[in-house]
Amino acid sequence: MNSPLDRRTLLRGAGAALALPWLEAFAPRRGATPPEAPRRMAVLVMPNGVLPSAWTPIADEQGGYTPSFALEPLGELRSKVSVLTGLANKNSFDGDGHYAKVAPLLTGAHIRRTGGRDLENGVSMDQLAAQQLGGQTRLPSLELGCDPIYPVEDLGYSSVYGGTIAWSAKDRPCSKEIAPRRVFDRLFAAQALAADPARRSVLDVVKADADRLARQLGNRDRDKLAEYLDAVRALELRIDAAARAPHGAIDGAAAPPPGVPADYPTHLALMFDLIELAFATDSTRIVTFLMANEVSGRDFSFVDGCAGNFHEFSHHQDQAEKQEPYRRINRWHVEQFAALLRRLLRERDDGSTLLDSSLVVLASAMSDGNAHSPHDLPVLLAGGGDVPQGRLLAQRRDTPLCGLWLAMLRRFGLDLERFGDAERPLF
């Protein structure tokens, strides 16, 4: 499945190149084989921000960093993971509350304040990448989460904003999958779908229904019918892709049990298994994972000293007794990120790893949750190819986060001049 280039990428990544300052190391070198572009991305988003004093690492003299309390769990992975500081998403500054910050995290757009009518955001970077890759995999992208959309608005912003980071159009939030079994079924359903001899005929009939119905409706309703038709067409494309690139046997992959696990660590572990499986079988190359909806009040009793409400800890009021569980929860999220990276680092048959050809990000839409600060967002980047590894990339205050998305999208072959408020890629 992987080309010999992957092997070279691995060797380069682990070899002498790392000793050089990162800018130089990752500029194309004369005579060298250009590193292979990354082919997959996984963007993980954690809610409620982080405690800056526990997060920001100290720079070392080689351009790397000494891990902070929250980043310690990276351990030996530190050589693969860069820490970005100083980034901000300008279009999230003027909206109050959590939802107005997480919804535009991957879109860089300005969202409309509404409880439901005329939702407006932008197209998220993962969906742009999925559109670019179009049809190369059996599933263009996967949108994962752990919580259903909450029933509460936040300061006049619909809860859809607080629970959706992937947007396929400015008014189309992508529904995320929260049940591991549904993700598994979706990954491997396409061949069964294609096997039904009546499938095409049935889809033709319902498409004709939708066309007829749309003609009778007003604009807002027509948009909904257009979304319906696009969903039917997406399914047809999936069937085509499955016919072109059937997946082989899924060795050792047992379907997870149905339903949503009550135990959060188990839930995350299953989702990570599925991300690894999706990448390993090349079922999709684009994954977003909202680890919990924004304002999550999850009880972190399973982490020592963290019994209580996550969101309330994040409003710590500079009180040590709340900061302590807050920073431990931050650290726990980094542990999870590291757990995913370790899965992607398992050596494959040809000696490569999935991480060699992936970009994996952990980010939050706020820094200090106490004040809902949108500055100096916590961002970790791991992966192969020509992106910086093991570095502390300290940027000027309020450098556009969208510059990171632009840098990633360019590596996915998108010929974009700008993205959101970024006019140039970060690297």
């Binding site: 859809v160 529904s175 979706r186 009546a198 009939v205 409706l217 007003g218 309703d221 009021q317 004040a371």
Partner: protein, 619 residues
């Protein structure tokens, strides 16, 4: 005359007229100031052109033409209705009638955007999907929970604005349709029901489509399906039937509830659309044969018939469906099933019957109001409730005897007014608590939101929070800590309302058990609302809410309409909501009176209520 004085005077005329009607309906109110004084007195001290407190200049709002759907209007209405404005530091407070007049005056400033009161096409909720599939095909599709979650907005699932059909969702529908169709074709009884054996498909298919699409099918919809079968002639009979059923269950006309209005008058619903609104609201399912018949000949468009059909449906299916769909969402009752009090402090939570019993009590109460046609104010105060052995123990009531129903529940007369109505239920009291302590603030919010349709803004991020337990901190009780918090001006306006409402319920613990003491100290359940009403304990709170019963009925009507129509009520709906409350009051606020008032309102019968049936605009 300066523009400002002029505009205030114009508004004064409007509000004087309003006050006249308000005063007329509440006979013994004192005489009221005209608007310039009301505004000057209650709003303009802070919200003027110079100070612009909270970035809100009331003079500017009343000076120019209002922009469509100005968000400031909704905000002002919310703050007035929640009693959080004027703030407690104000010299005088408007009384109930003046407050209502102010709300109306602000509401009148909101010019609706054309089409803003037309609901967006709705997707079946999971609950509706399961019911519809059951009623249409006889299949109980319990795996409906494998479909992606519903997306709530404005407190309810199934608001079209946030409900689309994404690729992931369509695939889930595809999987569901395949399973349902497979079950129908292998079970002879179900198969013969969908495709009667002695009836040609050209006859039975239109009938199936009419029930599935909730309207007569168009000729092309039938013809294309028959054409599909011709193309699939190599398949077995069962294979063909499976394809046919899938083409029904995946059609947008099945999955979506579209309303395009009458061909000659798109502002009005046609009879089938009206049948759908009624049926989904009351039964969570598609219209039955009788209702479709009434739609087919147009009889349903006569208001009396619409009301009669509603009564028939409720008689046949009972109020329980409305309780499990509307009331469960309105009160967020389903959350009680998964909420957890701290088990070390409240070991009763280990009893796995407790939380389902809490849900059941409220569902039975709501259903009884529908089925026995009780006043809807029974939700505020009732002399009975429903308990099983578990709840009876929690409430300190005698255990139900042998006359309990199969589920162990029995209707009991209450010895006093501590229980009875939503406020004394374990469900409400636990939903508004934290695991280790009660929360007067959350209970206050619950009362404002659910019972008065008024919300307070969330606290600013740096507002701080109270301890998770109710142990005194530095010798200060929870009440004393909240009193300190209230000294901060930015906190005071909300907490002056929330805290007294919530403290009135302090004699109920986290689970709703009664207590007289906390940490050895007697409970203090006193408080005073900003407009002067003194509260002490739940009975006084009930009396206060009963005094505001019209506000409660308005809140209930607004939520019922949001649920039934699929869009939130807005400032422009206010006059019609008031008319509904008046009609309901004239009928003694019995459930049937409120229902009839709702069904006769253009907010229910029209697709676009900006255009009244006589073609005139609303104002």
């Amino acid at each position: 005359m300066s523009p400002r004085v002029h505009s205030l005077r114009v508004a004064a005329v409007q509000i004087a007229a309003l006050l006249a009607s308000t005063v007329a309906s509440t006979a013994q109110q004192p005489e009221h100031a005209t608007l310039p004084e009301l505004i000057e007195q209650h709003c303009a001290d802070c919200h003027n052109a110079d100070d612009r407190d909270g970035d809100f200049d009331v003079e500017a709002l009343f000076a120019g033409a209002a922009k469509p759907d100005d968000p400031r209007v909704e905000l002002a209405v919310q703050r007035l209705r929640s009693l959080t404005m004027p703030p407690p530091s104000a010299d005088t407070m408007p009384d109930t009638a003046a407050r209502r007049a102010l709300v109306q005056a602000f509401a009148d400033r909101a010019a609706p955007t054309p089409g803003s009161r037309v609901a967006t096409v709705r997707r079946l909720t999971r609950l509706q999907y399961r019911r519809v599939v059951h009623d249409l095909l006889g299949v109980d599709f319990a795996e409906v929970h494998d479909l992606p979650d519903d997306v709530p907005a404005h407190g309810f699932d199934g608001i079209g604005d946030v409900a689309g059909i994404t690729p992931a969702r369509f695939e889930a529908y595809l999987g569901a349709a395949a399973k349902i169709a497979a079950r129908v074709v292998v079970e002879p009884a179900l198969r013969d029901r969908a495709f009667p054996p002695d009836v040609p498909l050209s006859t039975s298919l239109p009938q199936l489509l009419e029930r599935a699409f909730r309207r007569p099918p168009q000729p092309a919809e039938v013809a294309e399906r028959l054409g599909m079968l011709a193309d699939l002639s190599t398949l077995s009979d069962d294979g063909q039937r499976t394809a046919l059923l899938q083409s029904v269950l995946l059609s947008p006309s099945f999955l979506l509830r579209a309303e395009h209005g009458r061909v000659d008058d798109p502002a009005r619903l046609d009879a089938f659309e009206l049948a759908g609104r009624l049926s989904f609201a009351l039964t969570s399912s598609a219209p039955d044969a009788t209702l479709l018949e009434a739609a087919r000949d147009g009889a349903l468009l006569v208001p009396d018939r619409l009301v009669a059909e509603a009564r028939r449906l409720l008689r046949e299916v009972g109020g329980r469906r409305l309780a499990d769909d509307f009331a469960a969402q309105w009160l967020r009752l389903r959350e009680v099933l998964t909420m957890a009090a701290d088990f070390r402090r409240y070991p009763q939570i280990w009893n796995h019957r407790l939380r389902p019993a809490m849900y059941e009590e409220v569902a039975l109460l709501f259903a009884a109001i529908v089925d026995d046609d009780l006043p809807v104010t029974t939700l505020l105060d009732a002399d009975f409730t429903y308990v099983d052995a578990t709840l009876a123990k929690l409430y300190g009531l005698p255990a139900p005897g042998t006359d309990a129903a199969g589920d162990g529940f029995v209707r009991v007369a209450l010895p006093d007014r501590r229980r009875g109505g939503l406020l004394g239920t374990g469900a409400m009291l636990m939903l508004s608590s934290y695991p280790l302590r009660t929360s007067p603030v959350r209970r206050g919010q619950w009362i404002l939101d659910k019972l008065l349709d008024a919300s307070t803004p969330p606290p600013p991020p740096t507002a701080g929070s109270l301890p998770k337990d109710d142990e005194p901190v530095k010798g200060r009780s929870l009440r004393e800590q909240l009193e300190r918090h209230r000294k901060d001006r930015s906190c005071a306006s909300c907490h002056a309302v929330l805290d007294p409402l919530g403290f009135a319920l302090e004699r109920y613990d986290v689970l709703g058990g009664w207590r007289e003491q906390l940490h050895g100290q007697p409970i203090d359940a006193t408080g005073a609302l900003p407009d002067g009403a003194a509260l002490d304990g739940p009975i006084a709170l009930k009396d206060e809410l009963l005094r505001r019963r019209d506000d409660f009925v308005r809140a209930l009507a607004a939520r019922l309409l949001t649920f039934a129509v699929g869009r939130p009520m807005q400032a422009a709906d206010e006059p019609e909501l008031q008319r509904i409350v008046e009609r309901s009051a004239a009928g003694g606020h019995f459930f049937s009176a409120l229902l009839e008032a709702l069904l006769r309102s253009p907010l229910f019968t029209m697709r676009d209520p900006d255009l009244l049936p006589d073609g005139a605009t609303q104002r």
